[in-house]
């Protein structure tokens, strides 16, 4: 028995009374186990042999909890750079970078209005690598906001939100909001001028439904905004109670929610048979090779095979209705591509973090806001809208935009293969037309008030509710909706209408962001360049 090298047999063998007496003093089994320890521990962890064949590598992907978010095999179309630009994987990479650097920053950061600002200074000047770690955290967060938008554009323009992926698009919207919320709660924490006044403005935007209630003369009980403001601030003004709330949101609550939403987001891609791609995608066999489903058979009728390796995957899974050889194994092709994207993101974040310091304004001063008091770039479009009306620009239009975006896959149900940019030439034309219209409308919305003033300059006694409802922000939104409805009527296609509305919104967002960033100076007045700003 002692010579048995099969540990399973050894475990199942009856206990040896003599061996029990030997104990630690020198059982041959013990020494053998000790010698075999490294190998046995390794086998207990990975539970499969060296992955030398495609089959063994697929098995490895399938049986590993971290790798099994990938399907075991993947279609070459999904691996093309131009199909996705690696945006989704980049976002995962950025989220991981943010989590790691964020935990490191928590070692020194103190969520107190007295200490927070100084802990930023400590991180920058005293802590080894603290400067670079904070910079990387900041740059990765900005990249994440940018990439969420780019990822959304990629998924929209390739029509990858179509059935059965409608709800995954909605999860994407949730992740967009969570990313912005994480960014916002993050730049509150240094408790500098940006943090304090951003908190003040955000809390009052949350309370801005009061503005409408007040202008309509509704009684106090309709002022629901106060409750939201109080919940955010824990007080009626930004202070210690607000900071600890935002710290908890930023470090625990929101990352947890984002992690759960990301897991669901990625899981659903996997269950929907990988990334959306057109029927008859050119395969390694060459262009014109047989389509994913056999001729004369729709995807619904295709046999639903059950693979031990794959579980049941619906519809156009890599394994239904065709030869499995059209796909390639995820290991190494997909893992290699993901590693490349991850490395690129690391490189960009580290390079940006090394050479460009994250800004830190002066310590929070409740008496004097900066002039101009500007948010980070991704909120400047919103700030421009808010400068027309707090309620409509800060609550109304953003809510409408998020709900409208979320409804796209439910209102555009035309069945068409996903994975084709702009759904072909017609869509590309509508995209350019909408971009032109969107530009003209947004530029007019900024130029008219700058040159001619707005309703209050023309009619000083105009009721406030008219300004809340009729302002450049609401008019440009209405113009976009009208244009998209016209496109939908003209083309008789909901997809074309969606392309028009989406393109208009993206262009409008970009132009307002540009105006807020470069063309607004002290007192939010219009200046062509910063050199024209009045000297203080």
């Amino acid at each position: 028995m002692t010579k048995s090298i099969d540990s399973q047999t050894a475990r199942m063998a009856p206990p040896d009374p003599a061996g029990a007496n030997l104990g630690l003093s020198g059982s041959p089994t013990f020494w053998e186990n000790l010698r075999a320890l490294p190998g046995n521990v390794w086998r207990a962890v990975v539970r499969h042999g060296a992955p030398t064949s495609d089959r063994a590598r697929s098995q490895a992907v399938f049986s590993n909890v971290f790798l099994h978010v990938h399907s075991a095999r993947v279609h070459p179309h999904s691996l093309r750079a131009t199909a996705t630009w690696g945006l989704g994987v980049s976002l995962v990479a950025q989220f991981i970078i943010l989590t790691v650097t964020g935990v490191l920053l928590m070692v020194y950061y103190m969520p107190s209005t007295e200490l927070a600002y100084n802990s930023m200074k400590d991180l920058h000047y005293i802590v080894p690598t603290g400067r670079v770690i904070r910079n990387i955290h900041r740059w990765a967060s900005h990249l994440m906001v940018l990439f969420v938008l780019l990822h959304m554009m990629r998924v929209f323009y390739t029509a990858s939100y179509k059935r059965p992926r409608e709800f995954n698009w909605v999860i994407g919207m949730i992740l967009l909001v969570l990313t912005l919320a994480l960014s916002f709660t993050g730049y509150i924490l240094p408790w500098d001028q940006l943090a304090y006044w951003a908190l003040m403005i955000a809390a009052n935007i949350a309370a801005s439904p009061n503005e409408l209630a007040h202008s309509l003369g509704l009684p106090q009980m309709f002022h629901v905004g106060d409750v939201v403001k109080e919940l955010l601030l824990g007080s009626s003004e930004p202070g210690q109670h607000s900071l600890i709330r935002f710290y908890t949101l930023h470090c625990v609550f929101l990352p947890l929610l984002a992690g759960i939403a990301m897991a669901a987001h990625i899981w659903r891609i996997r269950k929907d048979g990988g990334l959306a791609r057109p029927d008859g995608t050119p395969t390694p066999a060459g262009k014109g090779a047989p389509s994913m489903s056999p001729a004369g058979q729709t995807a619904d009728q295709a046999p639903r095979k059950t693979y031990g390796l794959m579980c049941v995957v619906r519809d156009r899974s890599p394994h239904t209705g065709q030869d499995p050889d059209e796909t390639v194994p995820s290991w190494p092709y997909l893992l290699r591509a993901e590693l490349l994207v991850f490395m690129l993101n690391m490189l960009v974040c580290v390079a940006l973090g090394y050479w460009f310091d994250a800004p830190l304004r002066e310590a929070a001063n409740p008496a004097v806001p900066e002039n101009p008091a500007k948010a980070p770039w991704y909120f400047l479009g919103l700030q421009e809208l808010v400068s027309y009306s707090a309620f409509l620009g800060g609550v109304g239009i953003p809510t409408l935009a998020v709900i409208g975006l979320g409804l796209i896959p439910f209102l555009d149900r035309e069945s068409e293969p996903g994975g084709v940019w702009f759904s072909g030439r017609r869509g590309r034309r509508e995209m350019f037309a909408a971009a032109a219209i969107g530009t003209v409308a947004a530029v007019l919305a900024v130029a008219i008030p700058v040159n001619f003033g707005w309703l209050r300059n023309w009619f000083p006694d105009i009721p406030q509710w008219v300004i809340v409802l009729v302002n450049p922000g609401s008019l440009v939104t209405a113009a976009y909706i009208v244009w998209s409805l016209a496109v939908m009527r003209r083309t008789r296609s909901t997809r074309m209408g969606a392309i028009a509305l989406f393109t208009c919104s993206i262009v409008g967002f970009a132009i307002l962001t540009y105006v807020g960033t470069y063309l607004r100076g002290p007192n939010w007045d219009f200046y062509w360049s910063e050199s024209q700003w009045p000297a203080h």
């Binding site: 409750v227 004097v368 400068s387 007192n523």
Partner: protein, 159 residues
């Protein structure tokens, strides 16, 4: 439940009733614990600062002067008729406005107010409020940041 009852046909079988009761109590437990958790972030008393602020002796604000006090977020307007205090908190989104030649300008979103706090331009929904002024027994001027009075109301300080 007695045996006699079980023989009769019941509208809801015992198994179903137990299942419904279990589901119902689970739903009630989730509902009440959620309500309890949501109630927590809203305290009964807010950790607020005193709204009554000391501005200094009346003699510090001679008639004909306009003194912005950004630390207190108010501006003291003094004339022969008395003293008025205008809030410097923008009625749009709460930034502290700056005193200019034409009145008050907000640095955050471009609201512009006249010298008496009236809205001239921009997104501000209301004029800057005038605040209630009083005097402490030692003659110090007090302003109540939480108490709005009619625009232009002046307080005759005793010196």
């Amino acid at each position: 439940m007695s045996d006699g009852k079980r023989v009769e046909s019941e509208p809801v079988s015992r198994r179903d009733w137990l299942g419904l009761a279990g589901t119902g109590s689970a739903a009630a437990a989730i509902l009440f614990s959620t309500v309890g958790m949501l109630r927590l972030p809203k305290p009964r008393v807010l950790p607020d600062v005193l709204s009554l602020v000391r501005l200094g002796k009346a003699g510090q604000f001679p008639p004909g002067t306009v003194t912005p006090l950004p630390a207190e977020k108010v501006c003291v307007v003094s004339s022969d008729q008395g003293i008025g205090v205008i809030s410097l908190v923008c009625t749009h989104l709460g930034c502290v406005v700056n005193k200019t030649e034409t009145g008050f300008d907000c640095p955050c979103h471009g609201s512009k107010f006249g010298p008496k706090g009236e809205v001239r331009q921009g997104p501000a929904p209301r004029p800057l409020p005038w605040l209630a002024v009083s005097q402490a027994p030692d003659g110090t001027l007090l302003v109540d940041l939480g108490k709005e009075v009619q625009a232009g109301a002046l307080y005759k300080a005793s010196s």
